[in-house]
Structures are given as C-alpha cells and as structure tokens.
C-alpha cells in the first residue's frame, strides 16, 4: 500500500500538470449557471504562474509516457489489495454509508462520538475506494479520448468524445479536492498516524494498568504518544508485530 501510494503521488502530479499543458490549447470549460460564469478554467494569471501556455506537444509527450506508470501502479495496487485481503478493510460495507455521515459530523465537531471502526472508518472506506474507482475512471475516459476510433466502445460508454473529455477533466478536479481534504486530515491525525505510511508499522503505547513502575520505564520514550487507550498490546502492521510482542518485556503480559 505504502509503495503504490508514494509512487502514485508524483505520477499523478505529473499527469495533472501535463494535462494542464494539454488543456490550455482548448480551455473551454467553465461553471456557468443561468448565463453567469462563476468559474473559468483557468484564469490567465494561473497559466502564467505555472508556465502553462504553448506547451501542448510537450504536455502530450509527458502525458502519454506517464499514463503507463499511472496505469501499472494502479494495477499493482488493486492486485495487492485483492491478494493481501486488504480490500476487506477498504471496501465500504452496507453500514458504511450511514456511518460515514456520523464520522463527518464527528470530524466537524458536531457529534462527540464516532462509530467503532477497524483500520479505516466508514468515511475513509468510501473515500479510499472512490479514489480507486476515480483512477479507473480517468483511465477509461482517458483512453476514450486518446483512441476514440480504436476504442469506440469506450467512447460510447463514456457518453461520447465530448462528455468523456469533460469527465476526464472533472475527475482531475476531484483528485485536487481529495488531495486537499486528505492532507488536512493527515495533519489533524498527527505524526504517529502519518509515520506508518512510510515505515509500515504503527506504534501503539500500552497504558500499563497494574504494574505501573516497570512498564512506565520500558515504554516511556519520547517519540511515543498515547494513540489508543482501548488497545493494550503493542500492535504492529507488519511481521515485526509478532516478534516485537514476543520480545517485549511487558510486565502486564507476563503477569497473565
């Protein structure tokens, strides 16, 4: 998961950038309601800031190179998720849609409690699955506008060449929105939540319930934070978990 996540980040950034180099050549999309244009993609100052204009050929060359990496990376991610069984943590369940609303209320500080969860909460399940579906959507709409004659059936599924280009553009806006919310959430969740995305394991401190003195000595290191009071074992995501647990000098465990 971590590998594809971090590989995807620069690839998607390059795809969006090169996509803008292409879009500039025919930048016709606006948000217009009742004849009033609210948003025009994109204003001149924005193009100038990012040195977008007059780079169509270059943009296409980058786009059609990195599309391979984007596709392969997504493919590996989906395969990994299926074979590792991780999809069970990710795919929304029946209750997720109802619960996601409660999670949202909680995150907005409207509700105090949050529904019980495993690795990901209901809102995360929906968001992280949606982003994969969106990735697939970008691939399909992309192919539909890239080879509309050879893949005429894809273009047909996407509602024609015009709509496919709009969907392709819209999905990109979706990524940007996802990115903003994602980064804000990651910052709010803190370092101990972020670190595992790089290192692959999570450190959960055990509040020592009975044998206070010894336990405190062992576990009171500066980098650790109290992450989850309900859990009272050292739980790791990777294989280190079991070893670590075996090696752990944990008086409370030993006592049991």
């Amino acid at each position: 998961m971590r590998w594809t996540h971090w590989i995807n980040f620069p690839i998607l950034a390059i795809m969006i950038w090169s996509g803008m180099l292409i879009y500039w050549a025919n930048d016709v999309y606006t948000v217009t309601i009742f004849g009033h244009t609210f948003v025009q993609f994109f204003p001149d100052w924005f193009y100038k800031l990012l040195h977008i204009p007059h780079r169509l050929a270059e943009g296409m060359a980058y786009h059609f190179l990195f599309m391979w990496f984007f596709t392969l990376n997504g493919f590996f991610y989906i395969l990994y998720t299926i074979f590792s069984g991780e999809w069970r943590e990710l795919v929304p369940q029946k209750k997720s849609f109802k619960e996601a609303w409660l999670v949202l209320l909680h995150d907005l500080h409207i509700r105090k409690t949050i529904p019980p969860q495993n690795k990901y909460n209901a809102a995360q399940r929906i968001a992280y699955t949606a982003i994969i579906v969106m990735g697939l959507g970008s691939l399909v709409t992309g192919l539909a506008i890239y080879k509309p004659v050879q893949f005429y059936w894809l273009t047909w599924i996407c509602g024609g060449y015009h709509l496919a280009r709009i969907l392709h553009f819209g999905l990109t806006l979706g990524y940007v929105l996802f990115f903003v919310i994602h980064v804000v959430q990651v910052i709010l969740a803190g370092w101990n939540n972020f670190r595992p995305v790089i290192s692959g394991f999570e450190v959960v401190e055990i509040p020592p319930p009975i044998m206070v003195e010894m336990a405190a000595e062992v576990q009171n290191t500066s980098t650790m934070e109290v992450a989850d009071e309900e859990k009272n074992t050292l739980t790791n995501q990777d294989d280190i978990a079991d070893q670590a647990r075996d090696d752990q000098i944990n008086p409370s465990n030993n006592m049991q």
């Binding site: 971090w6 016709v28 270059e58 060359a61 080879k147 004659v149």
Partner: protein
Amino acid sequence: MPIKKKEKKLPTVEQRIKRRNFLSFTTFFLLGGAGLGGWKWLYHSSAETPGITAGAAKPLRRALNRTELFFRNLFSNNHLVKTYPKSMAARKVRVNAHIGIEAEGFKPESWQLAVVKSAGDILNLTIEEIKSLPKTEIVYDFKCVEGWDQIQHWAGVSFVDFVSHYNLQQQIKMQYVGMETPNGEYYIGLDMESALHPQTILAYEMNEQPLAIEHGAPLRLIIPVKYGIKNLKRIGKITFSNNRPRDYWAERGYDYYSGL
C-alpha cells in the same frame, strides 16, 4: 516464555522501533531523492537530433515511438469512426490554420495532383478525373490535437478506391504514404494501414459544395483515424516510401503517429 540468554542478545522494542523507523525513512528519502533526480534528468534531457522528427526531448520521443508501436497492434480497419446524420454537420466549419495554403497566386484551375509511383514515373491527375471516381461521403466528428472537435460533412474518393483505380498495388506494399502542398510548406506522413482505412478520403466537397480555398481546394485529405494535423489541405503530391516521410508537426515535437 523466552529464555533469558536470548533476551539479552535481542534489542529492546524501542531499539527495534527506532532501527526500523530509521531504515524506512532513509529508504523513503533515498528513493524520493532518486525519483526527483530521475525527474530532473527527464525534464532537462537534451532534445532529439532533428531528423524526420524533432523538437521533443530524446526520452520522450522514444516513449512516443514505443507507445505508437503498442497502439498500432490495436489498430483495425474494422474500427470505424462514428458517423452522424447530415443534419448534425456544422454549417460553419472551423478553419484552424493556413500553413501551406497562404495566398500566393495559387490557381485551382491549373492544379494537378502528382502521384509519384516511382522515381521518374509520375501520374498527373486533374480534379475532373478524380471526381469521376466513385464518391464516398462521411459525416463525422473531426478531432483536433488541441482538444476541440466538430461534426463535419465531407465527400470525395476514398483512398482505397483511388489506389485500386490507378493500380497502385505495388506502391501500397510500402509502409508509408507522404503528402504535401504544392509549395511544399506543409507535409505529412501516414502509416499505410491508416491511409488504407476505409474512411480515409481524398475530399473535394464540404457540405455538398466544392471545397473553399481555406478548406483546402481543390483536393484535401480527410483521415478520421488521425488528428486534424494530418488532414492536409490542398494536396499537391503523393509519394510512397518504406521510411517515414517528413511530417510538419512531427518536426515540431508532436507524435509522428498521432492516431485516434
């Protein structure tokens, strides 16, 4: 319960966590740095040596050519561009460029098409001769590399009919077709299979009227399996070759194939 001796040898949990963190973060930053380095290399890589193609960075051109080879496997003459009823065709057909057909005293009346069958064997044809061949009409969505598209109505002789009528069977065994304007200022190259696609047309009519000058009178190429940049206006010369013929936009950083 672990044996005491073993416990002494093994590092503590904190050491293991620290070590593991250190390794992961080192790997992360090393790979990140390598990625950034790779990107910088690609972004600043030198331009290709100008030849049939030019104007793109070397690795990007290599990627374009490889991608072409992959997608050519998926090309089929059975994949037809979607067609529309005539009523949907645009009345005002977009004119995007005049390269090769700028005003320069061109006389459509004295125009002749030169088909170079081989060195020294040139077939010269008048527009009347071409108009006497079976006519093919198409109403389809013309697509520009810039991203716009427009439903347009064209008519002329399909390239397949043209080839069989003038017995160019030997010539179409070659891999490429080249076309250029009479003044040689705009020129394109096509892979043979795209040229022989059933919807490739040497067009002399638009919206059931003879072509206007700005649309490429008297004869232009309409090739729906390519972007607009390959749809040459005012064809002066047609050549055949086993090597890629020169191509105006491929010399300016665009993909040579530009297939749809």
